[in-house]
């Protein structure tokens, strides 16, 4: 434990660990010292000077080395200059005055300097309404500028830094947060300052420009409207939008996100999603998210969305009522051999119901997945209390045949950070990845050789206090097994275990709920009634398309009119994850809830409900009234989920850094998490 230091800030006492910066000590007792360049996730630079405060320290008698006592109290000596609260660590007996006349004056004066060159185009600025500069100006700033408007510094206003991010040079206040984010957090120093003095500008010279999958985060931490996303800019004003908590469905990391929505005329008076923002979960994505998650949610508004159920009549799909469609689905199933083919795109609730269904009709529940190994991650995966953010010196991380940067970007980020805290990273991979430069040991191998190489490096990680092994696929069937062998003896130990770099968000959940891939999928489908949910085998693979044609019949439940749906006998429109509630189990075995953001499209229904309908048609009892109730069923019947409920999933505890809407300038526009941090699956399946 670090030594504790006591000090007084604005008359209030606080005790914080040695080394804490004044600004953070203040934050802990609810005092917001204004900052621009400081960001709690990055090294302080003290350059914007916004956080100037009066700092006093106990006077020391030179002769005795003891504090000078005056009127029975230690005498406090204030320096001639104000100090930057973001760079000065606390010390015993320190007295900080953040609201004194001198401090307030300095804060106001710095703001005035910043505003001399700021365009003050708040009425047309994307950031207006959630802008630290705007907020601080209202709170601390001068009421009018003495600077002459026509002498403002002018610069280019619409500069694409890349495909995704636009820069308004005039609005930039040179805080350097974006540059430092790319350098320190993302590890991709593709932004820089150009020129100097008042002419200082942000540039990128990477090829392609602003080459980073984390680029969107710079728009969250930019304290003005200088950086905006191509996707959202000019899309809506922040105050017009509502927020809905969600989980990114695009990879197994399970980033906590928030969808901002609004009802708009442009969309025919419908409530639509305008943007995705990160939502704080320090154990999962901290306050970040990757660009894929931030920009690739548009599939939910794809023009091929299914609005109504359809049944094939005379070789053609015809729209029908739900009643007719469900009857038809029941007919297809009744008395036939059934295969349920589902993917990790679906929620735990959907998959559970599909499994119940499969079991009820005596059919098979197959996972549509190319990566094997789930029977191992359910035995040797991570358990409660595990957090990549805790790994550091003494810990080892092995990444085998997986490209975290492209397939689980936030894991890339967190593994990189673990190496910066002293963690030992070993990579075994047939291909180069962006994580390679952080590895202490880098083993390049031929495709199919990874398993062998993993065995070879095993000795090197044997003695690590903690060991997490990420595995992907290089075509060698024994890879998952070889990786599991390294962690078997550590099963159940916090911060130890096996993690699959699954292609989909909830593959881990699917395995936990009893889904398994088929050895030969094409063969497994032949002659059966195939109930396909949340995947498009026909679109992915012509061989599977053929196999489906040789099936007895096909029922498809999906959000889009996929190729598989096009050859189905019954098509059931499902709701997108943005239109309903549910939960995913991340690759780290954390169960997390998502909430509805927008109304359901057309007549679509939630997957778990559709399954329950068909089940009911067949006289089976499957819970379909709400996702919450399905989760209760899961908790009651699947041991790993024991104790999990929607209530538990919605619990939050305080996180550091404290971020939130009231003081965006501290952490940026990442959303505060008040909808749940999720819960780890409790146990591991017994080997």
């Amino acid at each position: 434990m670090a030594k504790m230091v006591s000090l007084t800030i604005d008359g209030r006492s606080v005790s914080v660990p040695e080394g804490t910066l004044i600004v953070n000590a203040a934050k802990q007792i609810g005092i917001d010292i204004p900052v621009f360049c400081y960001h709690p996730k990055m090294e302080p630079v003290g350059m914007c000077r916004q956080c100037l405060v009066e700092v006093g320290r106990p006077a020391i008698d030179r002769a005795t080395g003891q504090p000078v006592i005056e009127d029975g109290r230690p005498k406090i000596q204030f320096g001639a200059k104000l100090e930057t609260a973001c760079t000065v660590p606390v010390s015993e007996g320190m007295v900080v005055l953040s609201q004194s006349e001198k401090s307030r004056a300095a804060q106001k004066e710095i703001l005035e300097f910043l505003l001399t060159s700021h365009p003050l185009d708040c009425p047309v600025c994307d950031k207006g309404g959630e802008c630290p500069l705007q907020n601080l100006t209202i709170a601390y700033g001068p009421s009018e500028s003495r600077f002459l408007y026509d002498e403002k510094h002018h610069a280019e206003k619409h500069v694409p830094l890349g495909d995704k991010i636009w820069l308004d040079r005039e609005r930039c206040i040179q805080c350097g947060r974006c540059i430092r984010f790319q350098e320190q957090v993302a590890g991709e120093p593709v932004l820089a300052f150009y020129q100097r003095g008042r002419n200082t500008d942000i540039i990128t010279r990477s090829d392609p420009p602003f080459d980073s999958i984390f680029s969107g985060n710079t728009t969250d931490i930019c304290p003005v409207g200088a950086l905006t996303t191509a996707d959202f800019r000019f899309g809506a004003r922040p105050w017009e939008m509502k927020a809905a908590a969600s989980i990114c469905p695009l990879c197994p990391v399970g980033c906590n996100i928030t969808f901002n929505t609004r009802r708009e005329a442009k969309s025919g008076g419908k409530v639509v999603i305008k943007r995705a923002m990160p939502r704080q979960n320090e154990q999962v994505n901290e306050i970040w998210m990757c660009d894929r998650g931030r920009f690739n949610w548009h599939f939910v508004e794809n023009e091929n969305r299914l609005a109504k159920p359809m049944v094939r009549k005379d070789g053609k799909p015809v729209e029908v009522s739900w009643k007719v469609a469900i009857e038809e689905a029941g007919n297809q199933v009744k008395g036939n051999q059934v295969v349920v083919l589902a993917s990790g795109r679906l929620s735990n609730e959907d998959l559970f119901n599909l499994k119940q269904f499969a079991d009820g009709v005596g059919g098979e529940a197959l996972l549509y997945d190319s990566l094997p190994g789930g029977e191992l991650t359910t035995h040797f995966g991570l358990v409660a209390g595990s957090n990549l953010g805790d790994l550091g010196a003494g810990s080892a991380i092995l990444v085998a045949a997986a490209d975290l940067y492209h397939f689980a970007p936030i894991w890339h980020l967190r593994v990189k950070q673990a190496t910066e805290r002293g963690g030992n990273l070993i990579i075994v991979n047939p291909e180069a990845t962006r994580l390679d430069k952080y590895a202490k040991t880098l083993v390049h191998c031929q495709k199919g050789e990874a398993a062998k190489k993993v065995e070879e490096v095993g000795a090197a990680v044997k003695d690590a206090e903690n060991l997490i092994v990420f595995f992907g696929n290089d075509g060698s069937p024994e890879l998952a097994e070889a990786c599991a062998n390294l962690v078997k003896s550590r099963a159940g130990k916090v911060n130890n275990g096996l993690v699959g770099v699954w292609p989909r968000a909830n593959d881990q959940g699917a395995w936990e709920l009893g889904f398994k891939p088929a050895g030969d999928l094409a063969k497994a489908l032949k002659g059966k009634t195939v109930y396909v949910a949340g995947c498009d085998p026909a679109g992915d693979d012509p061989q599977l398309a053929e196999a489906l044609k040789s099936a007895r019949s096909v029922i498809v439940q999906d959000i889009l009119l996929t190729e598989t749906a096009q050859l189905a006998n019954v098509v059931l429109p499902a709701q997108a994850f943005t239109e309903r509630d549910g939960s995913y189990t991340s690759g780290e075995r954390r169960v997390q809830r998502f909430y509805p953001a927008v109304p359901a499209f057309g007549e679509s229904k939630a997957d778990y409900a559709i399954t329950a309908f068909i089940a009911a048609e067949l006289g089976l009892e499957v819970e379909g009234r709400s996702a919450l109730l399905v989760m209760d069923m899961i908790a009651a019947s699947v041991p790993a989920f024991a104790g999990i409920s929607y209530g538990k999933l919605a619990e939050v505890t305080e996180q550091w850094p404290i971020i939130g809407r009231s003081d965006l300038y501290y952490g940026g526009t990442s959303y505060q998490n008040s909808q749940g941090l999720g819960v780890h699956l409790s146990g591991l399946k017994k080997a």
Partner: protein, 164 residues
């Protein structure tokens, strides 16, 4: 390619710094690169980034910060007159003005033949020898002190002959 043209110089530059601190060499390498054309082009930036183990963006930011580096072509010679306070007290502003008049250009412009760009610069640490200018060109940087407009024009004429 710098590596082909200046192998020894590059080796010498890199030897100045600890092997894991190659970034330190970026400034000297830029000076070297600039001798060629009077500015640093994209190729040179990429090559220097490679030698120093940094990104092209890192190199660009160095060029942007320091006034002796240029990323656009100008005159073959850059004639930079100090017009800072100490020199100005000794007539530097008038010197610059008259010199430009003789050359038929304005400060910041290049002579029509592309030979010299005349610019005002900040203090050159030669305040006792005003008027003074430095010349940036293919041979690096040289100082020309206690100047008169005639002497400056003569220097340019000599250079012009040298070029032809």
């Amino acid at each position: 390619m710098l590596a082909e043209k200046y192998p020894d110089e590059i080796k010498k530059i890199l030897a100045k710094y600890p092997p894991e601190r190659k970034q330190s060499a970026v400034m000297s390498l830029l000076h070297l690169a600039q001798l060629e054309k009077g500015f640093v082009d994209r190729h040179a930036m990429q090559e220097i980034a490679g030698i120093c183990g940094i990104t092209e963006t890192d190199v660009a930011e160095i060029i942007g910060f320091y006034t002796l580096y240029h990323d656009k072509p100008e005159g073959k010679l850059r004639l930079q007159v100090c017009t800072d306070i100490a020199c100005a007290l000794r007539g530097a502003d008038e010197f610059l003005e008259q010199l430009c008049e003789r050359l038929g250009i304005r400060p910041g412009e290049t002579t029509p033949d592309g030979l010299v760009t005349v610019e005002a610069v900040m203090c050159l640490a030669a305040c006792n020898k005003a008027p003074v200018f430095q010349v940036q060109g293919p041979d690096g940087i040289s100082y020309h002190e206690n100047m008169t407009v005639d002497k400056a024009v003569e220097f340019i004429e000599t250079a012009r002959k040298g070029v032809k």
